[in-house]
């Protein structure tokens, strides 16, 4: 434990990376997942199939492989994130960070899409019919009536997906982002006698972060409960 307390600043900055990875990927995965579900339930068959294929391929690929692709293979194809270079205190957001955010977002968006699709299926058909009957277009029906209700119905599974994302950010530590896992490995290597304490400390912080997330989710669930 002392190793953690003595290096509390470094540990803090490491978790700042974790939280930033989560926030960027979380928002992007929600946006992309919403877009995917709109394609999947939309009227254009080609787009339905394209979205379904994307979900199948990306969801069935291990996250580690997706990250390796963006770190090693994508640059050879000309896809790089070298344009990202932000320094803020000890936080450094570089091409590694960019590749991690993109990988995590693409991967998580497939789970967001499926969680939302179960929510869309729970919205009674009559809601969409009534929305069409007042002259809303497909986009209007989705954005005004179906998706808002689908989000409300999907809060618990979406929270699980986002919690998984928060923990998945540790994979980025393997690829040059100095987030919690990377810092933990350095500490356990330097203070081999305190391994258990270091593990415990990092685990506790993750538990607290996830707890905050589930608290927010249950707040949202209560606030959005349809009277």
């Amino acid at each position: 434990m002392e190793a953690v307390l003595d290096n509390i600043g470094l540990v803090g900055w490491a978790f700042a990376h974790t939280v930033l990875l989560f926030l960027f990927s979380g928002v992007l995965s929600l946006l992309l997942g919403t877009f995917l579900v709109a394609l999947r339930v939309g009227p254009v068959v080609v787009l339905q199939r394209a979205a379904a294929t994307y979900v199948t391929v990306v969801r069935n690929t291990p996250l580690l492989i997706i990250l390796m692709f963006f770190q090693f293979a994508a640059p050879k194809l000309g896809v790089t994130f070298n344009f990202i270079d932000v320094q803020w205190g000890e936080v450094s957001m570089t091409s590694f960070f960019g590749a991690a955010v993109v990988s995590l977002s693409l991967y998580t968006s497939t789970f967001v899409c499926e969680a939302l699709r179960s929510g869309v299926n729970s919205v009674p058909l009559g809601q969409a019919e009534a929305a069409r009957a007042i002259g809303l277009s497909f986009g209007g029906v989705m954005s005004q009536v179906v998706l808002p209700q689908a989000y409300r119905a999907s809060v618990p599974p979406l929270a699980s997906v986002q919690i998984a994302l928060l923990k998945n950010t540790t994979v980025a530590g393997v690829f040059g982002v100095m987030e919690a896992l990377a810092r933990m490995r350095i500490l356990t290597n330097n203070f081999t006698g305190q391994k258990i304490g270091i593990f415990l400390a990092f685990a506790i912080v993750f538990v607290v972060l996830v707890e905050v997330l589930s608290f927010l989710a249950s707040r949202l669930e209560r606030r959005w409960r349809i009277a």
Binding site: G126, E129, A130, A133, I134, G135, S137, V145
Partner: protein, 258 residues
Amino acid sequence: MTALEKQPEAPAAGEPLVVLDGVNKWFGKLHVLQDINISIKRGEVVVVIGPSGSGKSTLCRAINRLETIDQGSIALDGDPLPQEGKALAALRADVGMVFQSFNLFAHKTILENVTLGPIKVRKKPKAEAEAKARELLDRVGVGVQAEKYPAQLSGGQQQRVAIARALAMEPKVMLFDEPTSALDPEMIKEVLDVMVSLAKGGMTMIVVTHEMGFARTAADRVIFMSDGAIVEENTPHEFFTNPQSARAKDFLGKILKH
């Protein structure tokens, strides 16, 4: 409720507004609409009755293309129904629809339910849409409920909100698909009262219903359907007192005497 009678109505009452010509539809092998020809004049109130499964609801839903048809044509105000896209959305905005199960938007307040169409489809300013919505809600007698959510209202109140929501679009014609079938008996009257005053106000209405009392008081014409076809068409008085077909006699015998 008399305020409802002051509905703004398009000029030139009497010309055909909704015309169905040779409409056929199949659900698989089931021929649910069989060669339907109807012409409904502006300002006319047509009540469609018939036993369950006779195709009345399908007919009603076909008029704003919630159901597609396989043959024939449906025209509104002289223009054939568009296939899809923006033109279809524009048509639906001009056709008010009231459903059996109300279908109020569950996550929106009563006021938001009524203003959604005017704001998003008619592009009206929010304040104007809200003023108009409150006026309509007052007319149908649920003005004090404006800030509540649909689930907090009774069925009869919800259905009256649904009528206000449709009226807010200033439709050319109103379709009612069994509007009172999901209601308790005591709530049926409050909904029918609203519909009767709408009818008196000159609104063109197509009403699928089992309420014979409404047909007698408010309808200009009764269409009797059975097994997907129009069997009989007459004024309410003639139809109820002197039905021509055996099928209609049988149906009326069952529902009028019990």
